[in-house]
Amino acid sequence: MGYSLDFGWLAGAAGVIARGAAMTLLLIAVTTLAGTFLSILGAAGKRNGPKPLRLAIGCYVEVMRNTPFLVQLFFIFFGLPSLGVRLDPILAAMLAMTLNMAAYTIEIVGAGLDAVPRGQTEAALALGLRPRQVFIKIVLPQALKVIYPALTSQIVIMMLESAVVSQIAVRELTYEADMLQARTFRAFETYFVVTMVYLGLSMGLRRLLVSGGRQVLGAGVS
């Protein structure tokens, strides 16, 4: 076999790879913030909301968890325009990722809320705090601390899943890899390098989240 590996193209491609990685990080940053916010609302609604809302949230979670992300993405990007909602690829990607992640984190946040002892709520109410204050100031911080490790894993999984949005031409890391290999004809080397970049990103992201969590939520977060 006369095939030899060639990484000579790498020097000229570093900028493109870095730009793709930046896009991937932007996508996951927006998804993390929006998804966590949405799942706090969802988990609270699933516990304290009126019955139709609880049912709707339950259905939403089941549908999102039992269908592939790729199909959800295609549905949003190709399907919604026929209803008159036309989304830019980046926006569609962010929307799909947020909705997908929220379905998983609603369950996670819900488990966290259940883990906070009932006495905490009662004590806060007895001190004269309003129900909303009790939720935001007493219950939620304790719940977040419990679920933080699970949330971290979900964020990393979502970052890896975001490779799929290259299929609707969002110029993130995988998309740039596709373009690079088409130009250099070095498919294996290109994907190998980009895979290693993803590995670095996921390890770095996990470390960042753990150390950031320690500072914000205090010790005991792993």
């Binding site: 039992n66 269908t67 790729l70 959800q72 295609f74 799929v164 995988t174 980009v194 993803y198 590995l199």
Partner: protein, 214 residues
């Protein structure tokens, strides 16, 4: 131009869904076999063997499945193997599944009390007999819920093989969508088919989880 009726679309999608099911089964069985080997490495007594298995698992859990499939698709021909999308899809998903299954089962092995090993040894069983007769049956039993949960994830992951050209449900739906221009209906139906495949398994996993908690 050929007109597609609603039933033509459904029939074509269901025919394509056979390949999704077949691919999921092949990857799950292959992943279980390779995963068992990885598990043996992961719980070995030798530090270096253990470290190799940890690295293998970290590699597959820390990179996108799509990249793993691309590397399989473009990498294997370099070794002189002619590779079809079907082979790349099965092999890629097999290795992906093996890493996750090994890690799930490792959790089961770790959860067993140390006394189980000691009891096996005191009965005069050697290492492999201990694993086969005492440790693994219990480890599989307590990890049945996450194993079924992973099967759901694997079924959903087969969607990605459409990108390397394997003709399964999603790739067929792309072709139908290009012919009918009815993305809402086509992708909605695809989502429904996946849901019908995954939801019973999700419920089953949940029931197992509840039974284990009791």
């Amino acid at each position: 131009m050929i007109e597609f009726t609603f039933w033509d679309i459904v029939r074509n999608l269901l025919l394509a869904a056979r390949w999704t099911v077949l691919l999921s089964l092949a990857a799950f069985i292959g992943g279980a076999l390779v995963g068992l080997v990885v598990l043996f490495f992961r719980i070995a007594k030798n530090k270096w063997v253990k470290r190799i298995a940890s690295g293998y698992i970290a590699l597959f859990q820390g990179t996108p499945l799509l990249m793993q499939l691309f590397l399989m698709f473009f990498g294997l021909p370099m070794l002189g193997l002619r590779i079809e999308p079907w082979t790349a899809a099965v092999l890629g998903l097999t290795f992906f599944a093996s890493a996750y299954l090994a890690e799930i089962w490792r959790g089961g092995v770790d959860a067993l009390p140390r006394g189980q090993w000691d009891a096996g040894a005191s009965l005069g069983l050697h290492y492999l007999q201990e694993l086969r007769l005492i440790i693994l049956p219990q480890a599989f039993a307590i990890t049945r819920a996450p194993t079924v949960g992973f099967l759901v994830q694997l079924i959903k992951s087969t969607a990605l093989t459409s990108i390397i050209g394997f003709e399964e449900l999603v790739r067929t739906s792309n072709a139908i969508n290009n012919a009918t221009f009815e993305p809402f209906k086509v992708y909605g139906l695809v989502a429904l088919i996946f849901f019908v495949m995954c939801f019973p398994l999700t419920q089953y996993a949940r029931r197992l989880e509840r039974a284990a908690a009791r």
